[in-house]
Symmetry: C2
Subunit: 195 residues, 2 copies
DNA sequence: TTTTGTTGATTGATCAGTCAATCAAAAATA
DNA sequence: TATTTTTGATTGACTGATCAATCAACAAAA
């Protein structure tokens, strides 16, 4: 399918280029077709780019679904979500460039923003669903929001190479956040029971 | 000074536009001068943009220094750093647009990346310095890294309007992260002493 | 024959950067 | 002080390059 080839090419060019400021010619050349054909299939550059964002998030979603299926316990599923977020392919230069470019683009394109909101909600909700099995609802909501933010923040710091820690350490930090908050909650619960 | 006026204009145009894809003409018009003058002062568009990033981070730094001076205790200084990060002006549309655009630009411009790395290090080190007064060094490093990432992540989620919580709740979440980890550490310390 | 895929050539617009010319104010000179 | 000279600020007009988008024509499949 030509559409798929063009979207793949777009992703590669965005990665090389490090931004969404890419030309239809570059994308078409990368895909081995004429620029006119890219217009034929997508109507405009913006539509091609939006399709690229969608595909990008779809791929992450598929990885997450697979990882969630493989894990059996709620705690295991939490780890699976974290692991996927820091998976090696998320740090491929073109993936990093795409993410950051999409964040910026969301300020201008409502459609791009909607996709990223969906990603953010999905991350939060995957965490929340499994946390609810381990602690009360209100606590689960707090922890899910904090963990999701921490994941995004650690990802950006890794992407900028501004974090003095490894990817494994980033995973450990997120796991530790969840473990610690859950541990403290169960102590409080035990304390309540004692009274 | 014309340079300053042009940098201010650039910031405003970037905000309106929602990205770094702005023209010298727009910036010059916003500043009320001719496009040729902008070139006269900055040599190139890239230099003007880099100067704009620098000014942007300088402003945040000044705010932080002031807030740190006002706080007296280490714990108070931690709260001050958090408060500044979520200060109202950080969520002005042009500030949000600038931050996200700069993150994306860092993939292409080594100089922009360097500035953002400096910001990330500064945030971490402000947290670390005060945490060291409250817990052992290794723990302080872990907590500082986690808190810095959480701040960045929460900021992005607020910027995209993908967080279902208020700015105040974001601040509370970060405070809670620090409080909880410190609390657990002091309990462990007490437990060690008992043995 | 009709439909679908594909291209080369072209257009119209946008933009960064240049340059020669103008103007004002400061500095040097008489 | 009065004058000339120099310097820096400022602009309008222009250029060369780039690019999204269009379209008519051609090829291949149905």
């Amino acid at each position: 399918m030509r559409r798929k080839a063009l979207v793949d090419a777009a992703m590669r060019v965005i990665g090389d280029h490090g931004s969404l400021t890419v030309t239809m010619s570059e994308i078409a050349k990368q895909a081995g077709v004429s620029p006119a054909l890219a217009h034929h299939y997508f109507g405009s550059k913006e539509q091609l780019l939006i399709e690229t964002v969608r595909t990008h998030l779809q791929r992450l979603r598929d990885n997450t679904v697979t990882a969630l299926r493989a894990a059996k316990t709620p705690r295991g599923k939490l780890s699976a979500v974290i692991r996927v977020s820091f998976q090696a392919d998320q740090f491929a230069p073109e993936t990093i460039a795409a993410w950051l470019a999409f964040y910026a683009e969301a300020q201008r394109s409502e459609e791009t923003r909607r996709f990223l909101v969906i990603y953010a909600r999905r991350l939060r909700s995957n965490l929340l669903a499994n946390l609810k099995a381990l602690c009360p609802r209100e606590d689960a909501e707090r922890i899910a929001e904090g963990a999701a933010a921490m994941i995004d923040g650690l990802y950006i710091r890794q992407s900028l190479r501004s974090a003095p820690i490894s990817i494994e350490a980033s995973i450990a930090l997120t796991e530790d956040y969840i473990n610690t908050l859950l541990a403290l909650l169960s102590r409080k619960a035990a304390f309540q029971k004692d009274i």
